[in-house]
Amino acid sequence: MNWDAALPLLVLASSLLPGLVIFFLTEERVATRTTLNLAGAVLKLMLVGVMIWGVFHGAHYETRLPLLPGLDLLLRADSLSMLFVVLSSILWLVTTVYAVGYLEGSPNRSRFFGFFSLCVTATVGVALAGNLITFVLFYELLTLATYPLIVHRGTDEARRAGRTYLVYTIAGGTLLLVGTVWLYTLSGTLEFTARGFLSGLDATHHWSLVVIFVLLVAGLGVKAALIPLHGWLPQAMVAPAPVSALLHAVAVVKAGAFGIVRVVYDVYGMQFSASLGVTLPLAIVAAATIIYGSMRALFQDDLKRRLAFSTVSQVAYIVLGIAIAGPIAAVGGLVHLVHQGVMKITLFFCAGNLAETLGIHKVSEMNGVGRRMPWTMTAFTVGVFGMIGVPPLAGFISKWYLGLGALDVGQGWVIFILAGSSLLNAAYFLPILYAAWFKAPAGTWPAERSFGRRETAWALLAPPLVTAFLTLALGLLASAPFGLLQWARFITRLEYAP
Amino acid sequence: MSPAFLYALVGVGLFTLGLYALIVHAHLLRKILAINVMASGVFLVLVALAARTQGAAPDPVPHAMVITGIVVAVSATALALALMLRVRAETGRAELAEEPLE
């Protein structure tokens, strides 16, 4: 096996192997565990860097292992997968640092970090999957690896949340599987190809293809939390903050959204799915999700629940961008894949900091918290404004391309959805900021922990600051050469160039 | 209707009889006996049908089979009887509990 074929495997192994080793470490070996985790994360980042360089210069990294007669386990690095891989490996590093700080002194950390690494492995697998069956494989692996993290605390509430999560995701995975098998019986191949591999099929199959599309998107929509399949996400917020970060930003929801992108682009092909007439309903579902998620977020007092509903709304942007079926909107959807991750992880880190340092879980307890924890709240503010889509932050870029793309293909209604969503975002986020910065503190915090002169432990503070900075940088330097925007254009060119 | 066929019919009759007894009797000893009767019926069928062509010497293979079968049946009966005793020792009755395990 040469280097080109081994690289995708190595990227997977860089998180899998540390994870497996960590499972067998005893609780006390904190240093070894942390070293392993960080070494894996950094190594992965370096490998991904090499891979990006290669992909940009036209190298093909492809690992092919036989899975079934006629079907391979295929890992392939293309431009779209690199987008997701980069996102998850960077955020993994950050989240690992955060999790180390967050879980300090709590029980069962070896198990936690083991599954954590497994989760990232599955995510990277989802990203690198070169055909639908490999995708399904890692997608299910992701479901399984996340479950122990959600029930990590071992309370009855956690178990219920875990059950809800499973009911949704396993049902979704099943739909996905059925769709995949059906597709395979029709087409005889499942390999992702730019512009899809189905357009050549006989016209008599078109109805089947529509049904399959619905099956696939419903299966993926569970993880992407499209309505009405979003019910698990708000419940899953009982998990520790790093897990929420993982669910909302790094892995799970992203895997769903990414899968939809894959299905629309590389299975059906943009033109073909538009001609099947499936993109408009998808766009409508996404739009409804955007509005509904925001509406529900308005009325949540629990901070993490509010953030969870906000995720429901924000992830649908990605789907919307894809479903609008235009090259510019696609850029918007793709960059939002990254932007949403970075912004939402900031918010969850901050929420975790508040809970861990001061015991704050509810919005109504946040009065004046800006004075006690200015750095955390600064990061939170940046995240919030990014979510609303205020320039020059990352969210603005996403909304800009989405709106522009919608106008470009004559779907003007979308910009009203965007506007309405921004309005609602502002309505449920700005009161938090107002309370945090301008209201007088209540006097005592629910459960305060002292960290000396600092507002909280450095491992808790550094990650949100880094991601907040990324939020700013992604917006400000959007047009920079080798920036994210260039990469997204590079992807859409493949799909749309004549 | 040849005598061989008649024997075979008797064999089937024995089989059915045994089956009936197996169903209706609760006591394990009766059940074991019923099984034995059924086995005898099958053996009878085998032996009877060995005479496949009228007048010719009967096929020896089924006889070998029957002997094997009898050996198996004997050992099975021995095991069943031993088990029955254990059931009686454990539960106090030589019958099968009709309710499933809790």
Binding site: L67, R111, V151, G162, T174 | L22, R52, V72, E90, T91
Partner: protein, 483 residues
């Protein structure tokens, strides 16, 4: 090396091992383990031979059919032998820990090893038999050995379960034997290959088919004839439950498959649909009953009922993909169910009970065991990457290709049901129970064997092409398909 008579050795070696265990009970563990290793090696030798030279037919003592006893090894038998060898090795290792120090006294262990070796002999002989009468004999031996093993646990439950099992087993065998008699009368042979050539529809054949299929269904515990299985499987000692679920019920399915494919290829579609329907009913019934159980071993036993139902879904599909799917299901279920019963045995050993609601943080206290359970659960649910997934994929593909998508629906819903009970258990394993209880350490061999078996079930998902290629050797499916 190619002229060694591997088939005979594969049968004789466990027999010799069993006798040795019987004669030197003090050394039985060592002898049993050595024999297990030896059998694995011999099966590997046979496998090599089959792969190199194609399907093997071997006449014992040089007599040959129709008078002598023939042994026949093609891809299908090889696969069954292999899974028996691997699972058997696992069970042997596990038992060395389980019976050595468990509350089972030394004499029980003394009984276990010889009987287990005899059972293995019967299994190997069954998979290698080339005629339907030998199949009867081996089936009967298998049943008797299995009954003894069930009764080994002692106690009212186990003994009653064993008794019931024995009666059922004898009843099924007698039905089968009657069918054999009818077939022999009609065609003058018991050799499968000869029968396959000669057989043609007639009332006697229909009667024989009905008798044999019914008898085998009873022994395979297809719904609604599963009534004996849960009590027998749940009350047996853990390694015995494992081998009953993993191997013994599969043996009668194997015979059914052989008969169906080779002797009754003209069986009409309605019968296949009937079997499929019963299979579907088994999937649902077993799944629901498993969900209702409060004890772990009982739950696993009912899940076996459900999993056996999957095997019968291949009958109405009647395509190579369908058959290979069912066989793959059989393989992965064997590995996964072994791991699961072993895990259940570990929890029983650990806490002295197997109530699901009182698992009490088993995840923290027995991580290896719970990992084994969860991994096996993944395969049972048919989630990737696992053997169960491959099987489900193949069956689904066959269902959609044949236009009978509703069988696919059964698969899917059955998978969801099993997911429900697997995660019910796993969920309780994470939480703290109200009534704490004392616990004792589980031997490492037991935990590790369970884990290894579970990992095997997962790995089956990654090595499908090789195993499926094995099935192609002298494949009966192609023949059926061509005919």
């Amino acid at each position: 090396m190619s002229d060694i008579h591997w088939p005979v050795i594969v049968i004789l070696l466990p027999l010799a091992g069993g006798v040795a265990c019987f004669l030197w009970p003090r050394r039985s563990v060592l002898l049993g383990l050595l024999t297990a290793l030896g059998v694995v090696a011999c099966v590997a030798g046979l496998g090599w031979q089959v792969v190199e030279q194609g399907a093997q037919r071997y006449a014992v003592g040089g007599w040959g059919a129709p008078l002598g006893i023939d042994l026949y090894a093609d891809g299908l038998s090889l696969l069954m032998l292999t899974v028996t060898a691997v699972v058997g090795l696992g069970i042997s290792v596990y038992s060395s820990g389980y019976f050595e120090r468990a509350r089972y006294g030394q004499d029980r262990a003394r009984h276990f090893w010889p009987v287990w070796m005899f059972l293995w002999t019967a299994l190997n002989a069954l998979f290698l038999s080339a005629d339907i009468f030998n199949l009867y004999v081996t089936l009967e031996l298998l049943g008797l050995a299995a009954v003894v093993l069930v009764a080994l646990a002692g106690g009212a439950d186990a003994v009653s379960g064993a008794m019931r099992y024995l009666l059922v087993s004898l009843l099924g065998s007698l039905f089968y034997l009657l069918g054999v008699a009818l077939l022999y009368h009609s065609f003058g042979s018991v050799d499968i290959a000869i029968l396959a050539e000669r057989v043609e529809p007639s009332p006697a054949v229909w009667a024989a088919m009905g008798l044999m299929i019914a008898g085998l269904l009873l022994k395979t515990a297809l719904f609604p004839l599963h009534f004996w299985l849960p009590s027998a499987h749940a009350s047996a000692p853990a390694p015995v439950s494992a081998l009953l679920s993993a191997l013994v019920v599969k043996a009668s399915f194997y015979i059914l498959l052989r008969l169906w494919l080779e002797i009754f290829p003209f069986a009409n579609a309605a019968l296949a649909q009937l079997l499929g329907l019963l299979g579907a009913a088994a999937v649902f019934w077993g799944g629901f009953q498993a969900l209702r159980q409060t004890r772990l071993k009982m739950l696993i036993a009912y899940s076996t009922v459900a999993q056996l139902g999957y095997l019968f879904l291949a009958f109405p599909l009647a395509s190579i993909t369908g058959w290979t799917g069912a066989l793959y299901m059989l393989l992965s279920h064997a590995a996964a169910k072994t791991a699961m019963f072993m895990a259940a045995g570990n929890t029983l050993y650990f806490g002295g009970h197997d109530r699901i609601a009182d698992l009490d943080r088993a995840v923290q206290r027995m991580p290896l065991t719970m990992t084994a359970f969860a991994l096996a659960g993944i395969s049972i649910m048919g989630l990737p990457p696992s053997g169960g997934f491959i099987a489900k994929w193949l069956l689904l593909e066959a269902a959609i290709r044949s236009g009978q998508w509703w069988w696919g629906g059964v698969l899917i819903l059955g998978g969801l049901l099993s997911a429900a009970w697997v995660f019910k258990v796993v969920g309780y394993a994470f939480t703290r129970s109200e009534a704490p209880h004392e616990a004792r350490a589980v031997p490492a061999t037991m935990e590790w064997t369970a884990l290894l078996m579970a990992v095997l079930a997962i790995l089956l998902g990654l090595f499908a092409p090789w195993l499926l290629a094995l099935l192609e050797i002298g494949s009966p499916f192609n023949r059926e398909n061509a005919g």
